[in-house]
Amino acid sequence: DAGVTQSPTHLIKTRGQQVTLRCSPISGHKSVSWYQQVLGQGPQFIFQYYEKEERGRGNFPDRFSARQFPNYSSELNVNALLLGDSALYLCASSKDRGPQSLYEQYFGPGTRLTVT
């Protein structure tokens, strides 16, 4: 079975530009979460989507937005890029979304974003 896939693998953008990252969950998984991993740190939660609705948001500015499509794939958008947005962006999928969920999240390989 295919795992979580993300595209592109690497991306270089200039300050002030906008970027869109894409994620396809494991087949049968309806929940997608996005995390930002800055070099040398653990991943930080950005968003969770389930059934096309936002179910959780981390402490990120409004420049960050996301959406989930009917096929459960997801996009993460970042506007007005800053140097500090340079990071590995990870997508994770799981079978369901609730706080009581017993299911673990499975992560994709990530998109490495470099802002110059």
């Binding site: 969770q48 936002e54 179910r55 990870l90 799981s94 706080p99 673990e104 992560f107 990530g110």
Partner: protein, 115 residues
């Protein structure tokens, strides 16, 4: 504030020796606990989880973890380390009463296993 601490930035072990990677957490209620491993330029790979029940949980590749509620710890262990276990290990918690099932990660521990 909810947090996860991995007190060791790096753990060095000789191949064949037992290994322990430490994790403590500060979360209200009874959280769900996870361990993930990250190889260079790769995403996170799930190792094991504690939800409820037996305090010792077994996971992938011979790893296990011990949950200690009184010490709010969830240490990762393996009886005999392999060179291929060298990687970055993350402990994560998911508070039961939180938004959207988010994971809170520690800062990671670099495990180095020497032959």
């Amino acid at each position: 504030a909810q947090s996860v601490a991995q007190p060791e930035d790096q753990v060095n072990v000789a191949e064949g020796n037992p290994l322990t990677v430490k994790c403590t957490y500060s979360v209200s209620g009874n959280p769900y606990l996870f361990w993930y491993v990250q190889y260079p330029n790769r995403g996170l790979q799930f190792l094991l989880k504690y939800i409820t029940g037996d305090n010792l949980v077994k996971g992938s590749y011979g790893f296990e973890a011990e949950f200690n509620k009184s010490q709010t710890s969830f240490h990762l262990k393996k009886p005999s380390a392999l060179v291929s276990d060298s990687a970055l290990y993350f402990c994560a918690v998911r508070p039961i009463y939180n938004q959207g099932g988010k994971l809170i990660f520690g800062q990671g521990t670099e495990l180095s296993v020497k032959p």
